[in-house]
Amino acid sequence: MAKHVPGVLGSFEHIDAACDAIRELKSSGHPDLTVYSAAPNHELEDAIGDPISPVRLFTLIGGVTGTTAGFSLAIWMSRDWPLLVGGKPIAAIPAFVVIGFELTILLGAISTIAAIFILSARKSLAGRPYHPRFSDDRIGVFVPCGADRAADVQQLLERHGSVEVSRDA
């Protein structure tokens, strides 16, 4: 079983209320929030303020690897068994563009998928509370904190209009 993370969990119905609460929590020394939502939302993203995900780096590296692999595969294999047909070059680049292109897409896509797993796993969510309504119509804000700060956090969440707050610290 994952280790339980102590903290306070608030549940919001209103997007603006949730954003206000997140901003205030961030500015009052709670950087490590977990915000649950049923769909991605730009207002929430702005309030959370994380930098753009580095997924694109994975896509780029995967894509470039694919292009290189596609052309080298076709060129090397053609030269390994050189069969001259119609006086055309053994390593015929235009014909190999398709292989290079398809492998660019294939490896680019596979590394993008891998990026979701690798990057999401960097922040462990184990032990953090969750509620099924967060995949429905509520926004969840979990604030990890010790018993000493729990009361303040609870009060902050309620003041911003959290409809349900549970304390486990």
Binding site: N41, G63, G108, A109, D137
Partner: protein, 458 residues
């Protein structure tokens, strides 16, 4: 008040879902948890039977060889290659709607994209069977893959057929991962609203998804890049399929117009199949309020657009044949229209070029019965298009003494029929067990309730 005006605009926007977030979850989860009807079991049973027909016929082909399917010189590509191109084409509409329209930010794609994306994956799975059935010695199909082997041989990278191996396998991989990535948050929503064995099943399939900000942050970017990769991929796949023909020097195949002509035809046929599947499906699953006339109207416009490109391509093919001054090219096209297979040539022109022109009328675009009937014509027309291209050119190339006639047998027709069973079986099992309307993306379109009444935000 600014907020009221904003709401009024939203109320008039037909792309906007009319439900709340909770209603979306409820309505989509219902399609899964509701007990299947008798009709559903009959449908699954029929599809399973047709799949068995496919497997049985393929077993006979393995045992007796392709002579059973009427393969004889000069027509060594016939119904199986026709059906291969047909099914690959069907897939294209799904990726167009899910990836290309995603990049264009077309709001109407959201309600229909999941169903079409699933259609894509299953259509490509069906298509991929056909080259393997067609090669004759099916048990060594893996020779197509470049791997170090005891024969010290590599496949020929200058052959469009090998390009096709790469294109189709990439397409199958990327479109199925794209479908699965889109499904994860929706499966998590289903997991949270079911109980018992379903909770366990969807719990495992949701891969620990909770909708936390740390997950969305990478997910949304990754989805964007996947769409950006899938968009050129879909255009490349049918271009490569067209080069299977166009790179040869066979009259009727050797045309530079082939790649765009095939891509437009593919999208046209795919939307045709989308109509055939979605019109009854939305009624069966009672999601008419989510997939509305508005969506069909937009899909129809896309059909009209691609159908008109086909019209142009058909006209241009005949024009170029005449203008080329090449006897062989002219003969090939003369025989398409007036040769022994004239009926197939005219079926393709009427069903594709002319029937699609009916969609200029809004009355037809919003009449689902009419659209369903048109979609059947599209399916038939597009199969015949490939039949005409594949068969008629091979039947009559340069030497009249080597001309031949196509002679499809029961083995051809049973495999074609069985392929519909194989595709249909996957699709029917999918729509009853997975969210057929994208929960998460529909919710993304619905503005979340606000505490303060004024507008603002995004």
């Amino acid at each position: 008040m600014a907020g009221d005006t904003e709401m009024a605009v939203i109320a008039h926007d037909p792309s906007m879902p009319t439900q709340t977030h909770a209603e979306v979850t409820r309505d989509v989860v219902r399609t899964i948890t509701e007990a299947p009807t008798r009709g559903y079991y009959i449908l699954v049973g029929t599809m399973a039977f047709l799949t068995a027909v496919l497997l049985g016929t393929v077993t006979l082909l393995l045992k007796h060889g392709l002579g059973l399917a009427g393969y004889a010189p000069p027509i060594m590509w016939s119904v199986y290659i026709t059906t291969f191109v047909f099914w690959v084409g069907i897939g294209h509409a799904g990726t167009l709607i899910s990836a290309i329209l995603f990049l264009f930010r077309s709001p109407w794609r959201t309600a229909v994209y999941r169903a079409t994306e699933a259609m894509t994956v299953f259509a490509v799975m069906t298509a991929a069977l056909f080259p393997i059935i067609h090669i004759g010695r099916q048990w060594i199909f893996y020779w197509l893959i470049p791997y170090p082997n005891a024969r010290y041989l590599w496949p020929n990278f200058k052959s469009p057929l090998l390009w096709d191996v790469f294109a189709i396998s990439t397409y199958l991989t990327v479109s199925s991962t794209f479908l699965m990535v889109g499904l994860v948050p929706d499966i998590a929503a289903v997991r949270d609203h079911v109980s018992g064995w379903r909770k366990k099943l969807y719990g495992a399939l949701s891969l620990g998804w909770t909708g936390a900000d740390s997950q969305w942050r990478h997910y949304t970017r990754a989805y964007l890049y996947l769409a950006a990769l899938a968009a050129p991929l879909v255009l490349s796949v049918h271009s490569v399929v067209s080069w299977d023909f166009a790179v040869s020097i066979v009259p009727g195949w050797h045309g530079t117009i082939f790649a765009p002509y095939f891509v437009a035809g593919a999208i046209y046929s795919g939307i045709g199949m989308t109509f055939t599947l979605l019109i009854p499906l939305r009624k069966m699953l009672r999601v008419e309020h989510m997939i509305t006339d508005y969506h069909f109207d937009n899909l129809s416009k896309l059909t009209l657009f691609t159908g008109t490109i086909l019209f142009y391509a058909y006209a241009m093919e005949y024009f170029v044949a005449w203008y080329s001054g090449s006897t062989y090219e002219q003969t090939a096209f003369w025989r398409r229209a007036f040769g022994p297979n004239w009926w197939a040539g005219w079926a393709m022109i009427i069903c594709n070029a002319f029937v699609s022109q009916l969609l200029w009328f809004k009355k037809i675009r919003t009449n689902l019965t009419a659209l369903f009937v048109i979609s059947i014509f599209i399916n038939i027309g597009m199969w015949f298009e490939r039949y005409v291209i594949v068969v008629s050119s091979l039947a009559n190339d340069y030497l009249p003494n080597a001309w031949g006639q196509i002679n499809p047998t029961w083995a051809d027709w049973l495999v074609l029929l069985g392929s519909f069973g194989w595709f249909g079986l996957w699709f029917t099992l999918f729509y009853k067990n997975f969210p057929i309307v994208a929960i998460q993306e529909i919710k993304e379109m619905i503005p979340m309730p606000r505490k303060k009444t004024h507008g603002g935000g995004h």
